[in-house]
Symmetry: C2
Subunit: 335 residues, 2 copies
């Protein structure tokens, strides 16, 4: 690929910062890198390949001459600017939920549905972090044994709610340890030493059916990425006081028999997957081990005898890296 002009929208956020790191580490052929963010971040500086870059305020004109846009500045910004960028000739890889279910927009995990990229009309969507980690592991099993149903409970780290949420978790933890009061701004309840069965900070995240947006995303995005509407997903999404890395307890039912041994074998040779599954050494994926790594980790693979062809899996991936920045850059690499 010839070097490209790349613009990062939402450069100063948790995912934005990771974009810079991933582009650098993967030696992405960047001709010129432009950093955009909201007005209040204007003038901030960030390092890229040893150079100091200044953050600009995002405007409709920002996309002139740009070839690839990596968006992670919230749904509102993507709704407003994604197609403006696309029309200016800048192909957008959008990390927000704004366009994921739009029929014009491919929803891509390169290990799962790389061919979908070709159908893009200027905007490609990056799936939700909790979905990415899961489908990378489920796809190879689906190909061999067809997954009928997935019951998944997530343990999602605070970084999924942004850089300020990480700070809030740390500061609130300090306050609890010191026996002090803490004034929350992000999470709806105490996250320090607690588990909140709600992803999303507002009550509007709950649908009429009682599911949060995050849970609804997991249901629909899984089907779209796996390109199979018959996969039934039953999710419960929970925020836990972990800084980075989403863990998931996943129970699957397959149409064809699938032993744990065979599943380990299939996953062991699957792209983007790493099997860590050795009870005799108490080895299984852990958020603290997986943070900073590219692969989706899986372990605790066990038969579930309560149903035909049932299997338990424990999946952990870095929500900021594979769950966001890395997956988007991988998509950009395939353009």
């Amino acid at each position: 690929m010839p070097p490209r002009n790349v613009v990062i929208v939402g450069a100063t956020g948790a995912v934005g910062q990771e974009f810079l790191k991933v582009l650098e580490q993967r030696e992405f052929p960047v001709k010129n890198l432009k950093l955009c963010a909201s007005a209040k971040s204007k003038g901030k500086t960030m390092k890229f390949r040893g150079e100091t870059l200044r953050v600009e305020e995002l405007k409709a004109e920002s996309f002139k001459g740009q070839e690839i846009g990596l968006f992670s500045a919230g749904s509102g910004v993507s709704k407003e600017f994604a197609w403006i960028a696309a029309k200016a000739g800048c192909i957008v890889v959008d990390n927000t939920s704004a366009w994921r279910m739009d029929p014009r927009v491919p929803l891509v995990v390169p290990e799962v549905n790389p061919k979908a990229i070709a159908r893009h009309e200027g905007v490609i969507a990056n799936p939700n972090c909790s979905t990415i980690g899961m489908v990378v592991v489920l796809k190879p099993l689906h190909d061999k044994a067809r997954i009928r149903r997935v019951v998944v409970t997530t343990f999602q780290s605070v970084s999924g709610a942004g850089a300020k949420a990480v700070e809030e978790c740390i500061e609130e933890t300090r306050a609890v340890l010191a026996g002090k009061e803490y004034k929350r701004a992000i999470f709806p309840h105490q996250i320090a030493f607690n588990c909140i069965p709600q992803i999303g900070q507002k009550k509007e995240t709950f649908g009429k059916d009682g599911y949060t947006d995050e849970e609804t995303k997991m249901i629909h995005e899984t089907k779209k990425i796996m390109e199979d509407d018959t996969i039934a997903v039953a999710p419960t999404c929970v925020r836990v006081p972990v800084l980075r890395g989403h863990s998931e307890s996943v129970n699957i039912e397959t149409a064809k028999p699938l032993t744990p041994e065979r599943a380990r074998e299939i996953l062991g040779s699957s792209s983007g997957v790493r099997v860590v599954d050795d009870p005799s050494r108490m080895a299984y994926p852990l958020a603290t081990d997986v943070a900073g790594h590219d692969e989706c980790y899986v372990g605790r693979i066990r038969r579930d005898p309560t149903v035909d062809n049932g299997l338990h899996l424990w999946i952990v991936s870095d929500n900021i890296r594979k769950g966001a920045a890395l997956n988007a850059v991988q998509i950009a690499e395939m353009l």
Copy 2:
């Protein structure tokens, strides 16, 4: 009930301390209270009803003249002393896993199977903390709609591993926040800002089938307490950095249809259950709210449309209180 001589075995542990609190709060008719523990706790003092009691070393002779023994000093101690106590005329309520599956020993949750107590031969077992919280909520639903299958993922607090584990979690959290090294003695991996998909500290907790002892307990204890071998339980048990209170993501399939509304209605009038389920106020059970409370809390009750008669529940209970000390004292009250 006339006042009884009560002996607490394992008085200085997390559950032992809670025994004293619960006996006092519930005005249990204690004639004389004896505190026993291992040799190294001998001579320690503890307060009960304003009096200072001295901890004695546990010996076979300790049970002479005692009428009720509350045991929570580990399986080894219960294996050695439970029947010695029973033979001395001291009825044992055992909080360990030592005798739970023994056919001579009733396994009791007073809200679920109170009648089982009558069958005791001197020893009654208190179920595992993660099982108690779940069955108190599931039993009323089972009575009305018959539960066929339960897929459960737990979020278990560190207090389930004892008072020293709580200390370790706190100290390790402090160390991580300060960027310092910390030497663990209890958990197999870092628990600060992490989720460990293993309950139990040793590799021996994993069976050949890949399930931990805790998971296997949930499967078998649920059937024994609910007095129904047809209930299939598919558990994944996870330790989280929460100090007190076990949360559980529970997916059930019932034989008869059961709407969320009807489930809320049934649970709303069930003994020992408290429904907190109002998405419009972001209200659902949280470990930090439930700690110190007697009831098993349930919320996020939603239909799971991926299966016939499917329902999601989020259950939280205080593992030290209802999950251990309170349940045992409730059993003792029924003697």
